[in-house]
Amino acid sequence: MGDFDISFFIEVLVGGLLSGVMYALVAIGFVLIYKTSGVLNFAQGPLLLFAALTYVSLIERGVSPPFALVVVFAAMALIGIAIERTVLTPLANRSPITLFMATLGLAYVVEGAAQLLWGGQVHALDIGVSDTPFDVYGVLVSKFDLFAAGVAGLMVAALVAFFQFTRVGLSFRAAASDSYAAGAIGLRLHLILATAWIAAGFVALVAGLLWGARLGVQFSLSLVVLKALPVLVLGGFDSILGAIVGGLIVGATEKLAEVYIGPFFGGGIEIWFAYVVALAFLLVRPAGLFGRVQVERV
C-alpha cells in the first residue's frame, strides 16, 4: 500500500457525509411519526416512492414543476389523513408491534398502488442540479450532493424550530408522551396525528425528489428507507437531532467502509454495514445517542 491519500479520504468522507444528510432526511420522516404516535412507520419508504413517482409522472405529462409540486403535496396530505382515519384510529389502543405490522401492510398497499397507477418503469428525474463535481481545495465534491445537503439541512432546521418553538410542535410532543393525557386536556388527537402524517408526507416528498434525482425513480426507492432504520437506532427513534447525527455517521462510515474495507470482500458491503454498526452500537448505548430512555410505568 502506498502513501495514504488524504485528499481521497476526505473526498470519500465528504461524499459519505452528504449522503448521510439525505439518510437523515428520510429518518426524520420516521421520527415525526414516532414522536407523535409511537409508531414506526414502515410505509415511509413507499410514501417516498409514491411522491417521487407521482411528481415525475405529472412532469412527463407536461405539468409545470411548481404546479406538480402542489398537486403532489396535496395528494400526500390527503393520503396522510386517509391513513390516520382508516388505519391508525381503529388501531389506536393496540401494541406498538401491531401498529408496526399495520404500517407494513400499508407499505404494501402504497407500493402496489403507486406502481399500478404510474407503471413500473424507471423514470429519470431532473431537478435542475446535475451531478457534476467541483473542486473545493483539492477535494472533489458533487454539486448535487451539496444541493441535496442544503435542502435537507433547511428542512431539518425548519422542523427543529417547529417542534421547539411553536404551539403545534409542543402539542406534538405532548401527544407522544401521553396521548391519553393529551386528549384529556383538550388536544385534538386526530388533528395532531393528521398533521404529523402530513408533515411526514411532505418530508417524504422532498426526500423522494432528492433520492429520485440521484437514483432514478424506481421501485427500489422504497428500499432506501430501510437504511433509515440503522440511523434511528444510532440516533434514537424520537430525536430529530439524533436522526441528523445518526444519518451523518451512517453515511460516512458506510462510504468509508465500502471504499477501504469493501475490496477485501469483493464489494457490496454497503448493503449491510450500516446495520452491523447499529447492532454493535446497541451493545454500548441502547437508547441511541439522543433518544430518551423510556421510563417504564408499572
Partner: protein
C-alpha cells in the same frame, strides 16, 4: 384447543383428522400440479410460519429476517450433504437447523436485551448480511454462478423420495413432527414463560421469570424451525434455489402468513400459508376470467401486493387473532356452543 389450558391433548381431534386427510387425500387426486405448485410450498411455508409464530405470537418478539434463516437452512444442508460423506439426511436437516439457530442467536443477542423494534433491526441485519454472503462467497454454493444451488435427491437409508408424491410425504412427515414439537413447547413451563414475556415483560422480570433466557430460547428455536423449513423449501419443493429467492419479500411473506393465520396459535400458520399460496393463483385466474389478457403480470403483482396489504390491515383491525380464530368461531357456531371466555385481549 383452548388457549386457556396448555394440555398437549386438548383439541387433538382436529390435528389428527387433518393429518389423516393429508395422508390419504392427495394421492387420490393424482395431480402433480397439486403437489408442485400448492401442497409442497404450502407445507414448507406453514412450517416457517409455525417457527415465526413461536417467536412472534407466543413470545411477542418481532422478526423481519425469516428468509435469512430459510436460506441458512437450505445452504447449510446443501453444504453438509456435499462435504460430509455419508451423513444421513435426518442428521443433515437437524444440523442445518442448529446452524440457523446459532446464526440467529449471534444476530439477535444484542437486541434481545432490549425492547421495541431493536430485534426487527437485528433481523433485518441478518437478512441483508446472509443474502450478501451467500451471493459473494462462492464456497457456499460450491463455486456456482451467482450462488445458485441444485439440491440433492431426498433419500433416507436407500429409500428415495424423488417423485412429487414421495417428496410430499417426506415434507409432511417433517412438518407434522416439528409442529407437534412446537405445540408441546408452548405448553410446558418454558412456553408459559414465553407468554409472560409477551404479555407484560416488566412484570415478568419482577416476579422472576427468566426473561432473557426465554427470549433467547424462543429465538433460537424459531430460527431452528425456520431453518428446517428452508431445507424443505430447497430440497423438496424448488430443488434449485438462489439467494435472491430469500429476499426481504420472502421474509415479509412469512410474517404475513403468521399475521393472517393468527399469531398466537400453532395452527394459524397453516391457515395463513394456505392464503398466501392460493391467493396469487386465485388472482391470476380471476384476472384472466375478468379481463382476458388485459392485465399484464406486472400489474397483477401490484394488485396482489395491494390485496395482501389490505388483508393484513383488515385482519389486524377486525380479527387480530387471525383466520384461526375465525375458524374457531365457525366451528363453535356449528356445534351450537357459545364460549364463555372471550378471545384474548387484543394486543
Amino acid at each position: 384447543m383452548s388457549r386457556a389450558t396448555f394440555s398437549p391433548f386438548a383439541g387433538w381431534l382436529f390435528p389428527v383428522l387433518a393429518i389423516a386427510l393429508a395422508v390419504i387425500a392427495p394421492p387420490l387426486l393424482n395431480s402433480d400440479y397439486l403437489f408442485e405448485a400448492i401442497l409442497l410450498p404450502f407445507l414448507a411455508l406453514s412450517l416457517a410460519g409455525v417457527g415465526l409464530n413461536v417467536l412472534m405470537g407466543y413470545t411477542g418478539q418481532l422478526s423481519l429476517g425469516s428468509a435469512a434463516f430459510l436460506a441458512i437452512g437450505a445452504y447449510a444442508a446443501f453444504n453438509l450433504n456435499l462435504r460430509v460423506a455419508g451423513l444421513p439426511l435426518p442428521v443433515t436437516i437437524v444440523v442445518a437447523g442448529i446452524l440457523a439457530a446459532l446464526v440467529g442467536v449471534v444476530f439477535g443477542l444484542p437486541s434481545l436485551r432490549l425492547r421495541g423494534f431493536y430485534l426487527a433491526v437485528s433481523t433485518l441485519a441478518a437478512q441483508f448480511f446472509v443474502q450478501w454472503a451467500l451471493t459473494k462467497f462462492p464456497w457456499f454454493s460450491n463455486d456456482s454462478n451467482s450462488g445458485v444451488i441444485d439440491a440433492p435427491k431426498l433419500e433416507i437409508a436407500g429409500i428415495g423420495f424423488v417423485s412429487p408424491l414421495g417428496r410430499y410425504y417426506f415434507t409432511l412427515a417433517v412438518v407434522v413432527l416439528l409442529t407437534a414439537l412446537s405445540a408441546r413447547l408452548v405448553g410446558v413451563k418454558t412456553g408459559r414463560d414465553f407468554a409472560a414475556v409477551r404479555d407484560h415483560e416488566t412484570a415478568a422480570k419482577i416476579i422472576g421469570v427468566p426473561v432473557l433466557k426465554a427470549k433467547l430460547v424462543a429465538f433460537a428455536y424459531s430460527s431452528f424451525v425456520i431453518g428446517v423449513a428452508g431445507v424443505l423449501w430447497a430440497f423438496a419443493y424448488l430443488r434449485t434455489v438462489e439467494p435472491a429467492g430469500f429476499n426481504l419479500d420472502r421474509s415479509f411473506q412469512i410474517l404475513f402468513i403468521s399475521i393472517i393465520g393468527g399469531l398466537a396459535t400453532i395452527r394459524g400458520a397453516f391457515f395463513g400459508a394456505a392464503v398466501m399460496v392460493v391467493l396469487p393463483l386465485l388472482l391470476a385466474r380471476a384476472s384472466s376470467a375478468l379481463a382476458g389478457d388485459g392485465i399484464d403480470s406486472g400489474s397483477l403483482d401490484m394488485i396482489q401486493r395491494i390485496a395482501i396489504g389490505v388483508l393484513i390491515i383488515g385482519f389486524l383491525i377486525a380479527e387480530p387473532d387471525g383466520l384461526a380464530a375465525l375458524f374457531q368461531r365457525f366451528v363453535n357456531g356449528l356445534a351450537g356452543r357459545v364460549r364463555p371466555e372471550s378471545s384474548p385481549a387484543a394486543r
